[in-house]
């Protein structure tokens, strides 16, 4: 019971990890990707369409990444090259994404009599590791996207803190003038990190449609992009922190499900547990004093000033 609950919590953490790490990379270069909710949604939609039309989950995942990339490209172009406000642009794109995917879904599939289904990604048990009692069941009987995240966590940490590319990205967020003087285009670095975030965000979206539910609805993201965004803050702009933040979220979500099943609802209203992750975010935001905010987060760069 507890083991399957933890396995489930880990599975549900997958897209949040992808999203929050994508956000960490972009924000380290000074770019808040406020279009993340829309990127998740377009990814979920693209994933479904690709998988449904070709019958291959792989094609779905690929199309999801392309959709995320396109959204991020538009976002990056407007915020970096046209120097427009990041929160404002993100909000507009999120509204557009909600309309676009529902509308295109209608264009492609009309009004289907019964909901369109695809087969979700299978759970792959890793030989040997998957047979370890408890641990194997929790960690090594997941789908391929979760395994991918196992790789992305250390890789992103290594990239950001142990390579010269990472140093450039971090400097772009802290001291863009220095990067510029070194002959590297600040805008190019930022655009590339946003594109990378778009690909990862699209993948995260695909998790919901292709990886887990095997269908698409316009409400399926329901603020989870924003949660990933929040986890990036709480994790202090560090992939390690993002892991801890996601686990905290996953834990409260699992707790909510657990309380429902054991009948805790008779003592506490169920809505309290639904609100718990959000309350936790607020409490942690208030409690954490030593935030390590990238100095130039959200500010467009221009050579003149």
């Amino acid at each position: 019971m507890v083991v399957s609950l933890l396995a489930r919590a880990l599975m549900m953490s997958t897209p949040l990890l992808l999203g929050s790490i994508s956000e960490v990379i972009a924000e380290r270069s000074g770019m808040m990707v406020t279009a993340i909710e829309g990127i998740f949604l377009m990814g979920a939609w693209g994933g479904f369409v690709g998988a449904y039309l070709t019958g291959s989950s792989f094609a779905g995942i690929l199309l999801a990444m392309v959709c995320g990339l396109l959204m991020a490209g538009v976002y990056g172009f407007i915020t970096i090259h046209l120097r427009q406000h990041q929160v404002v642009t993100g909000t507009a794109l999120n509204i557009l994404a909600a309309g676009l995917c529902t509308y295109l879904q209608r264009v492609l599939f009309g009004v289907p009599v019964s909901p369109l289904k695809i087969s979700p990604l299978p759970k792959l048990a890793i030989p040997l590791l998957g047979d370890i009692p408890v641990i194997g069941e929790i960690f090594f009987r997941q789908n391929i996207l979760t395994y991918l995240v196992y790789l992305i966590i250390p890789l992103s940490y290594f990239l950001l803190f142990k390579t010269s590319i990472g140093l450039t990205i971090r400097s772009t967020g802290e001291n863009p003038e220095a990067v510029d003087v070194a002959g590297i285009s600040v805008n190019k670095v930022r655009f590339l990190t946003v594109l990378a975030a778009g690909i990862m965000g699209g993948l995260a979206g695909a998790f919901y449609s292709v990886g887990y539910l095997g269908m698409f609805t316009s409400g399926m993201i329901g603020g989870r992009g924003w949660i990933a965004f929040a986890i990036c803050f709480l994790g202090n702009w560090n992939p390690k922190g993002a892991v801890i933040g996601t686990l905290a979220f996953g834990f409260t979500e699992a707790l909510a499900i657990y309380m429902q099943t054991v009948g805790g609802g008779s003592y506490f209203p169920n809505e309290l547990f639904i609100a718990l992750p959000y309350i936790l975010t607020i409490v942690l935001t208030v409690a954490r004093r030593n935030f390590n905010v990238p100095a130039q987060l959200g500010t467009p760069y221009s050579k003149e000033n």
Partner: protein
């Protein structure tokens, strides 16, 4: 560059942006093999000739004016209140609870006055809490306000199936309030109520508050340069709390106009996009309170046009066309900000060139 040029640029670029957004939406309609000209033409014709539909445009604009003002108000202090949706829900909860309590007991004008004050305070307190966390603990207001919406929504859902549950007890919704507690109709034969007038007056009031009072000056000063204004004796922390209180209060008032003016009861998933549309409108209007009135009417019109299209027989146009139109228009308006800056820059360069040549 003079103000006349600026205003000309503003009108031309905004007009072009709206046109571009609508053209792109029209192209999307062609994907469904629908002729956009006849559809838009029919919808516009109905909108401008039918009194009831025209009333609906302003009706839809009413709550948007409030949520847009809510975002614009903190935006002037360089703060982000993106939790207007939650503050609106808080206002709606208080409006329905108070109206049900006083319904038939208190005369209509007194009831409406009490409810409007209560929604103002309810939304304001949520806002003030966010402002306080920002001022006292330096918590990120963007994040806290975003999360607050989900918390208030959970609270609303809880109340809807417990204390506020309808007497029949069938669905998670409240009882309807009687006509005594409705905001009176403004134009007979339409759904438009006096809440629209209230919204316009509040927008004018916000403009006066921001540009003609010391408090407004302080808010804008903190927004443009927090550390400089701190040195000149403005207590920026106090300004955070006050700005957020007013911002939340404005969003809370949307709860009043939607409950007592339109829906007359509270249901689950009530008006879920009011907060984000408000933000979009504030952008459209460059956070100018007077501009917000017009931008809200535009968004109201887009919503009504979308609904009209959806009801056209045999065409089956999905309701998501509304989001599509609003999204496209917003994107182009954002791009037009860039165009305006570019045009102003070019004009300035030409002027300087002339001066040099002389």
């Amino acid at each position: 560059m003079n103000d006349k040029d600026k205003l000309k640029d503003l009108i031309i670029t905004n007009f072009l942006a709206i046109a571009a957004g609508l053209i792109l939406s029209g192209l999307m309609l062609m994907l469904l093999h629908i002729n956009p000209f006849t559809v838009f033409g029919d919808a516009l014709h109905t909108m401008f000739t039918d009194k009831y539909t025209m009333g609906d445009v302003l009706l839809k604009a009413t709550p948007l004016i409030f949520t847009a003002l809510a975002f614009a108000f903190t935006f002037k202090a360089n703060l982000f209140n993106i939790g207007a949706q939650g503050q609106f829900y808080m206002g709606a909860i208080v409006a329905i609870a108070a109206s049900l309590k006083m319904d038939g007991v208190v005369p209509t004008p007194v009831l409406l006055l009490i409810v409007v004050v209560l929604t103002f305070v309810a939304g304001g307190l949520i806002g003030a809490l966010i402002g306080f966390l920002k001022a006292r603990y330096n918590a990120n207001e963007f994040l806290v306000s975003m999360m607050s919406t989900y918390v208030v929504q959970a609270l609303m859902n809880y109340l809807l199936r417990t204390f506020l549950l309808e007497t029949k007890g069938e669905y998670p919704q409240t009882d309807a309030i009687s006509r005594e507690a409705w905001i009176p109709t403004l134009i007979p034969g339409t759904r438009l109520h006096w809440g629209f007038v209230l919204a316009v007056l509040v927008a004018v009031g916000v403009w006066i508050l921001l540009y003609k009072t010391t408090l407004g000056y302080r808010i804008r000063a903190v927004g443009s340069n927090a550390s400089a204004s701190e040195k000149s004796g403005i207590k920026s922390k106090k300004v955070f709390v006050i700005a957020f209180f007013i911002s939340g209060a404005l969003a809370g008032m949307a709860g009043f106009t939607e409950i007592n003016g339109v829906q007359h009861m509270l249901i689950q998933d009530f008006n879920t996009s009011i907060g984000s549309s408000g933000l979009g409108i504030a952008i459209l209007a460059n956070a100018n309170p007077i501009g917000i009135i017009f931008a809200s009417i535009l968004f109201g019109a887009l919503g009504v046009i979308g609904n009209l299209m959806g009801r056209m027989p045999g065409l089956n146009i999905p309701s998501s066309i509304v989001d599509l139109m609003q999204g496209f228009v917003m994107i182009f308006v954002i791009v037009s900000y860039f165009l305006r800056a570019w045009m102003a820059n070019r004009r300035e360069k030409r002027r300087l060139q002339k001066v040099v040549e002389k």
